[in-house]
Assembly symmetry: C2
Homo-oligomer: 427 residues x 2
């Protein structure tokens, strides 16, 4: 490393530590702030976003121009793009978060002990949350707002592609904080796109309580592997739809098409279809024909290819691939046991569905499949905090600790035991 | 490293991975097991412990002899020692865990959505839990039993000092599993005391879902720093008792003495006493005299020394020291703000108490102090799952993620969303 690069590294480290200290102080203030004031900040931020819409779109244009020059794919360019409608949706999102109930100060349990001690378990903020994400600029608004709602300070480290857009959005969030008399350091971001900033964040155990990665496999596995700070895991969504031999054909066709094709770029999209061998001759072809008619490319195992010669042969990698595209791997299985084993081996513990009219089979599937969300007779595309009635979410946790499934403001809290005594000493 | 050492390392690695695979399989069986069968295993294990008491004590004698030869301290020797009473307490502990309600399959939330989807959040096992602990052999029984109760497989890595004792206890747990028709691999331990086994466990992300360290600062910080597997933090208990200016003197004396001296070796013991300067002339001396009369060594700041010349001067390290001994650091503070700031800076987020007749001050303390347990007018020695009415516990979590405070069987679970549909596809 050159002396200059070392100097830069030290400067980034110093900046991040200062940011952490400021976040820790801001978090202490947020923890004491009334719910109404945090909501006031959210509403004021929404107002600022509307007032600054043209400015935000101008800044986004800089990001778009750079991204086009760099030759980003059409899908990535679409994720990056902000339109007047998308800016309005961001503002509305903040207002919706403001309308949700207070996640803090909820008394989850109360026990009165024989010795007269009253023990309450209440929700409290987590503290400082570090969010590391990729190109979508709207994550800046959503993630910042959800952290604020739950009384947490946030350090947002977005992708370099959206640096200008995110900066303009962050300015609106900070204007909202200021208008409500809350510290602007409650939502911050590094002033650099240098990857070194991520490395420093992952070691800031004194100043960051949780890291949430949002993005592709490369990002999340780097974070999970390197972080000294606890990580709330958000892995990829390698989701399956399993058509059991007792499935209603019509329902199976509709669910398979929706689960794969409604939106192919979301984490709840189905990537692999499993079909019982017993119904290969009756169900497989109509389902696959619907998918092909919808524009889906199929990759099948040898038995599938026999029945659907237009499909491509699946390679072993296909069973472990999250396409996020109109591509589906398809496999015949001998029955529910093989289906469950395949899913537990290849799935990412995100969202898994069975289609069947057999209740006992559905029960077994939902019990034995190891995933945050298991569905019976419904599309995997329902994996979404909004569809669960939870409001906005920061993502779908695929880890088993702390929160599993959609993570909204309520999941960004911890708890504290309050013990009320009258002089008790322990015998 | 010599070729022989490398070979040993590889052998340990292979053994641990095989153990992980067996644990994963056992966990899948436990997850499907009825509650009655897990309890049957616990009761059978208690029976085996009683039947094998002499054998367990013989094995313990080997550990004791080696420990004495190594010159372990009296406190450590006492932790290691098993007596007939202690063996009986272990057996009784298992029976008590068997009597607790099933932590699994509890429906925590149910939502019916406008589209007819019924969404249930139910408790499920975490999977495989790795527990890394030090000399107390009874942890083998408690930790193994709590994991089993919650349908988790356990890999127990105890300290080398208790190797023989733990082996004898583990044999009884496995006999219980066998008697109930559950896989013996549900509770395992490495066949070696080599530290390499710990290193391998901390990287086994495919086979271990959570690591729980139980022991001193050296052990827990190594685990938290090195682990690639998520860690449920159990740090030290650097607990404070704060005597506010509105404290009743009589209550303050009783609570201070109990909090420090009832048992000095437990994590909920108070290590630092903070007293408001306003009551230094009325309250400080009587409280400190009671402590000295109880056999406590005092380490005071200069103002304390003025009033209590027999105390030793406190060094800056004293404010960060968990003595686990009859030693107390004592400091005057200007008021509640300084007390809270001192605690949040020096405490370990474990258990913190205020003594005051002023309700507003108590509220403020309990809100602003960042700890798993905050008490008003009660001794910090109540920090204990049993005292909370939770039954046996594996320790007190000082982290904010997943579980905070006492960790019993209920806290060793995760959740899963079960979504029941009737053919819904997402618009």
């Amino acid at each position: 490393m050159s002396a200059e690069a070392a100097l830069d590294k030290n400067a980034i480290r110093a900046e991040m530590l200062a940011m952490g200290r400021a976040a820790r102080d801001a978090a202490a203030q947020l923890a004491r702030s009334p719910h109404a004031r945090r909501n006031e900040a959210l509403v004021a931020a929404a107002k600022a976003i509307r007032a600054q819409a043209a400015q935000i779109i101008d800044e986004n244009a800089k990001d778009m121009a750079a991204a086009e020059k760099k030759g980003l794919s059409a899908a990535l360019l679409d994720r990056l793009l902000l339109t007047p409608e998308r800016v309005e949706a961001m503002a509305k999102g903040l207002e919706q978060i403001a309308e949700q109930p207070d996640p803090l100060g909820q008394v989850i349990e109360t026990r009165e002990r024989p010795n007269g001690l009253v023990i309450e378990k209440v929700t409290v903020p987590l503290g400082v949350i570090g969010i590391i994400y990729e190109s979508r600029p709207n994550v800046t608004a959503d993630a910042g707002a959800l952290c604020l709602k739950a009384g947490n300070a946030a350090i947002l480290r977005g992708g370099s592609e959206s640096f200008h857009s995110s900066g303009a959005i962050l300015a609106c969030l900070q204007a909202g904080l200021k208008a409500a008399g809350l510290p602007e350091a409650a939502i911050q971001r590094p002033g650099t796109t240098d990857r070194e900033a991520v490395g420093v964040m992952l070691t800031m155990t004194d100043f960051i309580d949780v890291i949430i990665p949002r993005g592709g496999k490369g990002l999340t596995s780097r974070v999970m592997n390197e972080s000294k700070v606890p990580v709330l895991a958000h892995l990829d969504g390698l989701c399956h739809t399993y058509i059991h031999e007792a499935a209603d054909l019509d329902m199976a066709r509709k669910i398979a098409v929706n689960a794969k094709l409604r939106r192919t770029g979301i984490c709840g999209a189905t990537e692999t279809l499993l079909v019982d061998r017993a119904i290969a001759d009756t169900h497989l072809k109509p389902i696959l024909e619907d998918l092909v008619a919808g524009g889906c490319e199929l990759r099948g195992d040898p038995e599938v290819l026999l029945r659907m010669p237009s499909a491509k042969p699946a390679t072993p990698e296909d069973w472990d691939t999250e396409y996020l595209a109109p591509i589906l791997s398809v496999k015949l299985v001998e029955g529910i046991e093989e289906a469950i084993a395949h899913i537990n081996r290849h799935g990412s513990h995100h969202t898994e569905a069975i289609v069947t009219a057999d209740k006992a089979a559905a029960e077994r599937f939902m019990e034995e499949v190891d995933a945050g969300i298991v569905l019976h007779n419904a599309s995997t595309q329902y994996a979404d905090g909004g569809e669960f009635g939870m409001g906005a979410e920061i993502g779908i946790s695929t880890g088993k600790l702390h929160a599993r499934g959609p993570v909204g403001a309520q999941q960004l809290t911890s708890t504290k035991y309050r013990v009320l005594g009258s002089g008790q000493t322990r015998p």
